[in-house]
Subunit: 417 residues, 2 copies
C-alpha cells in the first residue's frame, strides 16, 4: 500500500483515535473504571501491541512515521493544554492551608520508593536485559527510584475531577502532592540521563530552567497579566489581546519546561496556576471540554504507539514482575497512606489519596520511553515496568472506591456513580 | 546555531507568530484595512521575503524545516476550522432566495477570467521564465484562468463578517459566489496538474471526490446527525458523543477534499454547512474565537514562508505585471459587477460585491505554490501573480468602502468603523 499524504493520514487517524477513545471510555465507565483508563488502553491497542501485531502493514499505513512529528505535537499540546486547565482551576490557598499534609504525602511518595530502589537495584543488577550494559549501580538506583515514584499525574487529576473532588481537601492534596512528586521524579530522570550521556551541563540546564519557570509563575506572570486580567474583569469578557497573550505565555512555559528536560505537562500546569484569577481564568476554562475531547485522545494514541506489550511474553520475567509490583505498591501506595495518616487525615481519606497516588499511568510509559531512547533501559525492565504501570493504574479506581468511595457515597460526601 | 527540538521550535514560533499577527492586525485596523490584511502581510514578512532576507540563519533557526509538517498541519487545521465555523453560520436559505444573483456573479467571476486568459496566454506564451518549458498552450490557458478567477475566499468571509454583513444579501451572495468560483478554480487546477503530470486518473479522482463530498454534505450528514442534534436540543447543551462525532466528520470532510486534490478549506466549509441547525451548531460556534486567534495566524505564517517577494525585483516583469493586473481587475472585478447589476443588485451593492470578489489573497498564493511544486510555473509568472494577489487584496477594503461602505454607513445600513 502506498503511503497517503500527511494531512490525509492525520484525518484518518483522527477519525479512528477519536472513536476508539470514545468507545473505550464508555466501556470503562460501564465497568466501573474511570473513562481515562479505557482511553489509555485504547491507545495501547491501536499501537504495535494489538493492531500492529495483528495487521502490521495496515497499522503502519494508518500511522506512518511521516505523521509521527505532528502526532507527538498534538499529544503534547493535548496533555499540556489539559494540565493548563487543571492549573486554572487549582486553588493554591487550599494547598497552603494543608501544606504539612501535602508535603508529607509528596515526600513519602518520593523518598520511600527511592529507598526501596536501593535493595531492588542490588538484587537485580546482573539480570540480562534489565539495564543496558553500561549503566552504573548509582544510575540504576536513581532510574528505578524515579520509575517507582512517578504518579499518573494527568490521570489522577482526571479521576479527582470526574468524581467531583477537585475542591475537596483530598483532591487538592492528591493533585499537589502528585505534581510535586512527579516534578521531582523528572528532575532525577534528567540527572540520570545527564550522567549517562556524560554531559553535566544537562543537570545545570534542568535545575536552572526549573528555577526560572517557577520564578516566572510566581512573580512575573501575575504582574505581567494584572492589567489584561483587570481589563477582562471590566468588560466581563475575554479581550483578544489577553487571549493572545495567554497563548504566547503557554507556549513560553511549554518551551521552558521542554528545554530543561521536563515534560510539557509541567509547563502547562504552572502556566494555568500562575494566571491571575477572575474573568480571564473563568473564560479560559471554557476550552477544557474541547481539549479533553479533541486533543487528549491523541496523547493516549501517541503513548500507545510507543508501547510494546509483546515484549512481556517471557516467563522468566514473572518473578521480577511480582517483586517490582510489591515494591511499587508498598513503596508508593503504602508510604503515602502512612504519611497521610501521620499528617492527620482520617483513615478512609488517607487510603483514597494513597490509591490515587499509587497509579503510574501514562507518565510511567513516557518516562520509560525516554529511558529506552537513551539506551539505558533493557527490554525486560521495560516490559516489567509497563505491566506495573497498567496494574497500578487499573487498581486505582477500584481501590479508591473500596477504601473511600463507598463510605463517602453513603455519607453523602461524594456524588452517585 | 544548533537546531532546537521540534516542540521547542514550535513554541518559539507560536510566540512570534501570535504576536506578529496581533500587532499587524492592529496596525491594519488603524490604517482602515481589515485586520486580516495585516496578518497576511505579517506572515509574508516572517518568511524569506523580509526576515529571511535580512537574517537568513536566524530565520532558518526559528522556522527549521523539521517543523514544516506540523506548521502545515496547524495552518490547514486553522483555515479549515475557520471555514467550518463560516459554514456553521451560513444561511443556505438566503442563497436559494437569490440563486439567480449568486449564480450570475459566480459564473461571471469564473467564465470571464477564463476567456481573458486565452489572449493573455497567446501573448505571453514564449516569455522565458513564464511557464516551465513543457507546458502546452492549453495548460497555460487553464492555469492562467484558474489564477485569474480565484477569490480570497477566507479573507472575503472575514471582511464580510467583521463588517457585520454576514446575514445581508450582499454578504451571502459574495460568500457563496466566492465559494462556487473557488471550488471551480481548484477543479480546473486539478485538471491542469493531472494533464501536466500525465495521469488522467487524477481528474477522475477529483471529480468523483467532489461528487461524493457534496452528496455527503447534502444527504448523509443531516440524516447521520439528526439524532445527536435532537439530543443536544433536548439537553440544551452539547453532548460528548455529538462533539466527538462532529470532530470525526470534520476530519472525514478534510480528508476527502484533500484526497480529491482540493484544498482543506472546502471540506471544512461543507462540513459546517451540512450540520443540522440547532443547539449543536450554536454550541460549536463558540470555538470560532479560539480558532481565529490561536490557529489562523499559523495559516498566515505558513503561507508567508512559501512566498518569495525577492523574485519580483526584475524590471522586465513590469509590463507583464501591468497587463496581468488589468486583466485581473477587469476580468474578475468588472465581470462580477456587470453580472450583479444584470441580476438586479443596486449599483453600490454590486460594486461592493465586485470589490470583495476581486481580492485574491492567500488563495492565490496557495494555488501558485501548488503550481510551483508541480514545476509548471516559472519564476517570473510566480512573482507577477504574487504582486497581483497583494494589490487586489489591498484594494478590496478601500474599494469596498469607496463604492459601497460610505453610502451604506450614511444610510445606516452598515455599522460604524
Amino acid at each position: 500500500m502506498s503511503e497517503p499524504p500527511i494531512l490525509l493520514s492525520l484525518c484518518l487517524q483522527a477519525i479512528v483515535v477519536l472513536f476508539a477513545c470514545r468507545v473505550a471510555g464508555w466501556i470503562a465507565e460501564r465497568l466501573g473504571q474511570p473513562s481515562v483508563v479505557g482511553m489509555m488502553i485504547a491507545g495501547v491497542l491501536l499501537g504495535p501491541s494489538l493492531l500492529g501485531a495483528l495487521w502490521p502493514a495496515e497499522q503502519l499505513w494508518l500511522f506512518p512515521t511521516s505523521t509521527r512529528d505532528v502526532l507527538k505535537f498534538l499529544a503534547e499540546l493535548g496533555v499540556g493544554g489539559y494540565l493548563f486547565c487543571v492549573g486554572l482551576d487549582f486553588d493554591l490557598a487550599q494547598v497552603r492551608q494543608r501544606s504539612r499534609l501535602t508535603l508529607a504525602v509528596a515526600a513519602a511518595g518520593v523518598l520511600v520508593p527511592f529507598c526501596m530502589a536501593i535493595p531492588l537495584a542490588l538484587a537485580t543488577q546482573n539480570i540480562p536485559g534489565w539495564f543496558a550494559g553500561e549503566a552504573t549501580l548509582g544510575q540504576q538506583i536513581l532510574f528505578l527510584g524515579a520509575a517507582l515514584s512517578v504518579t499518573a499525574f494527568p490521570m489522577l487529576v482526571w479521576i479527582v475531577r470526574s468524581k467531583g473532588l477537585a475542591d475537596s481537601p483530598m483532591g487538592t492534596v492528591a493533585i499537589s502532592a502528585g505534581a510535586i512528586g512527579d516534578a521531582f521524579a523528572w528532575v532525577i530522570l534528567a540527572v540520570v540521563l545527564a550522567s549517562f550521556t556524560g554531559s553535566p551541563l544537562v543537570v545545570v540546564q534542568c535545575l536552572a530552567g526549573g528555577i526560572v519557570i517557577v520564578a516566572m509563575a510566581r512573580y512575573l506572570v501575575p504582574r505581567l497579566l494584572a492589567g489584561l486580567s483587570a481589563e477582562c474583569d471590566r468588560r466581563k469578557a475575554l479581550t483578544p489581546v489577553a487571549v493572545v497573550a495567554v497563548a504566547a505565555l503557554f507556549a513560553a512555559f511549554v518551551a521552558l519546561s521542554t528545554w530543561c528536560g521536563m515534560h510539557a505537562v509541567f509547563g502547562g500546569f504552572l502556566c494555568g496556576l500562575a494566571l491571575p484569577r477572575g474573568e480571564l481564568t473563568r473564560g479560559l476554562r471554557r476550552i477544557e471540554p474541547a481539549i479533553a475531547m479533541w486533543l487528549l485522545p491523541f496523547f493516549f494514541a501517541f503513548s500507545g504507539l510507543q508501547t510494546r506489550l509483546d515484549l512481556l511474553i517471557s516467563p522468566s520475567a514473572l518473578w521480577l514482575l511480582a517483586l517490582v509490583l510489591l515494591v511499587a505498591l508498598l513503596g508508593k501506595g503504602g508510604a503515602c497512606w502512612v504519611a497521610a495518616r501521620w499528617a492527620g487525615l482520617p483513615a478512609a481519606e488517607a487510603a483514597g489519596v494513597a490509591s490515587l497516588m499509587n497509579a503510574r499511568g501514562l507518565m510511567e510509559l513516557i518516562l520509560l520511553n525516554v529511558g529506552v531512547q537513551a539506551k539505558l533501559v533493557g527490554p525486560v525492565l521495560f516490559s516489567v515496568l509497563v505491566v506495573m504501570a497498567v496494574v497500578t493504574t487499573l487498581l486505582a479506581g477500584p481501590l479508591f472506591e473500596w477504601t473511600y468511595g463507598r463510605q463517602a457515597r453513603k455519607a453523602g460526601g461524594l456524588g452517585r456513580l
